[in-house]
């Protein structure tokens, strides 16, 4: 860059097979043999989803097709819509089995008693965490979950992408639309997240906004430490709640250009009311020549209306059933 700083600009595709937390039994660094095997399995699974099926098939079974979690017993939609990544993230030449690197077991530390209590007290009504996947919804949540749009998850409301795609910390969602674009000047860095059209503005060599100013993506300030851009984010709203964190969450991110095609991204999470100690993750962002597209999420969000109408009808049927029983 003209100011002598490394150029972080570009469009990056964060899709990866490396999960946030390490699966039990896997080493921190996969051998080439292990990585190849798992990557081949992922490709094979994708290919199986692409195979033709019977054109003269009948309707799926009444009572549901038995699909779990994401597909809510009705089967979701075809895998050709999906782009979940096919390779493990390579950091310092190592194929990593988890994004979390500290604690060394690759697992996010346990929640504090305070955090567990907070989660339990709102579990029945709200699931508004920024990383909440809508995909665990069996369609029959607890009382109140469908009462109004504001009880629905942030992703379903088109406020933030699910899986902490916009962050911070910025994580892959293991599903689709994992593109991010960085634009950089001497005093500002912007990160545009494709899903859901979030632009985070990072002010360089600046002070945080006063504590009364709260933001969905937090207030980000940055500075250069050698060739690494260090960004600190605070001032979150109490609505974002990454993994159940409080609004006092601090996220410190480190962006380092390791070569012309790769950005190394490291983040540390600190919120003493939620985790006993800070924890850290890292993975690499490969640059892509693909286009990042507009994501006008409200435009086609018929799902919200369909979901709420469905809930109203269920309630009405329940009322009829009860009055018949009396």
């Amino acid at each position: 860059m003209p100011d002598g700083k490394p150029d972080l600009q570009g469009t990056y595709d964060l899709a990866t097979l490396t999960p946030v937390e390490r699966p039990n039994g896997l080493p921190a660094v996969l051998t080439d043999e292990q990585a190849v095997k798992l990557e081949k399995q992922a490709v094979a699974a994708q290919e199986r989803g692409s195979l033709p099926i019977d054109g003269n098939r009948s309707a799926p079974p009444k009572g549901g097709d038995g699909s779990l979690g994401p597909a809510g017993n009705v089967g979701g939609y075809n895998s050709f819509w999906i782009d979940r990544g096919s390779q493990y993230s390579v950091v310092d030449g190592q194929k990593r089995s988890s994004i979390v690197i500290d604690p060394p077991d690759g697992r996010v530390p346990s929640l504090t008693a305070d955090a567990r209590q907070r989660q339990a007290s709102r579990a029945a009504l709200a699931r508004l965490q920024s990383d909440a996947t809508e995909s665990r919804d069996p369609g029959l949540e607890g009382a109140g979950a469908y009462d109004d749009p504001e009880r629905r998850p942030l992703g379903e409301r088109c406020l933030l992408g699910f899986g902490s795609t916009s962050g911070p910390p910025i994580l892959p969602n293991y599903f689709y639309n994992n593109l991010h674009q960085i634009v950089q000047t001497s005093d500002t860095v912007m990160i545009l997240t494709e899903m859901v059209h979030d632009a985070r503005i990072i002010r360089l060599n600046a002070q945080h906004a006063p504590p009364t100013v709260r933001k969905w993506l937090g207030d980000s300030i940055g500075h250069w430490e050698g060739d690494t851009l260090v960004v600190e984010t605070t001032n979150f709203t109490d609505k974002t709640r990454f993994r159940g964190a409080t609004e006092n969450l601090t996220v410190t991110e480190r962006f380092t250009r390791t070569d012309a095609k790769t950005l190394k991204y490291r983040f540390t999470i600190d919120d003493p009311k939620t985790w006993e100690k800070p924890w850290t993750g890292e993975y690499t962002w490969p640059i892509t020549q693909d286009h990042l597209y507009e994501y006008a999420c409200h435009e086609g969000n018929y799902a919200m209306g369909n979901i709420l109408r469905g809930a109203r009808l269920r309630e009405s049927e329940d009322t009829k059933t009860k009055s018949k029983q009396q």
Binding site: G25, R57, G69, P70, G72, Y77, N78, S79, G139, E156
Partner: protein, 164 residues
């Protein structure tokens, strides 16, 4: 240890495979009714190429209908809307809503919305009449960018680069 790791790797692979045909990002179970399975055969009328989910509209012939095809309750046809995924993923592969011509015949299996007054369903499987998945097999419409032929030059990720 080696055997244990191998079986773990296999288990991870199986878990991935098991979830492949059954995917959704929002409350599909809250939106669609497991007790209302549908099989829809008809012609595409339009595609809403929008986020967060594309919707394919198709016209179903109703032989028992009496009135002209104007989507009235007694008509000879009915319009259904079928929910898919985000169009951005397909755009990156060079597929657009123009890739499927109006009138293309498709077969959809899924479940109707819980509100049965709506003719809407999830596109659990959307195929051509011969069973090939949409956007993967040729529609036979001669569309230039339907991603039909695996040997076709430029097929695959990033095919849409630079031209938009």
């Amino acid at each position: 240890m080696h055997t244990k790791l191998s079986s773990l790797l296999a288990a991870i692979g199986l878990a991935a495979a098991a979830t492949m045909p059954a995917i959704a990002h929002h409350a599909f179970g809250g939106e669609f009714d497991p007790n209302m399975p549908v099989l829809l055969k008809g012609k595409i009328t339009t595609i809403e190429w929008v986020n967060p989910h594309a919707w394919i509209h198709l016209e179903i012939v109703k032989p028992e209908g009496k009135e002209a095809c104007q989507y009235t309750p007694n008509a000879k046809c009915e319009e259904w809307m079928v929910e898919g995924g985000t169009p951005n993923t397909l755009l990156r592969r060079g597929i657009t809503k123009e890739s499927l011509a109006k009138g293309t015949e498709i077969v959809v299996d899924g479940y109707q919305t819980r509100d049965h007054s709506l003719t809407r369903a999830n596109g659990r499987n959307v195929t051509f009449p011969d069973g090939r998945k949409l956007f993967l097999g040729s529609s036979g419409t001669g569309a230039p960018t339907d991603g039909a032929d695996p040997t076709e030059a430029g097929r695959g990720r990033g095919r849409g680069r630079g031209g938009l």
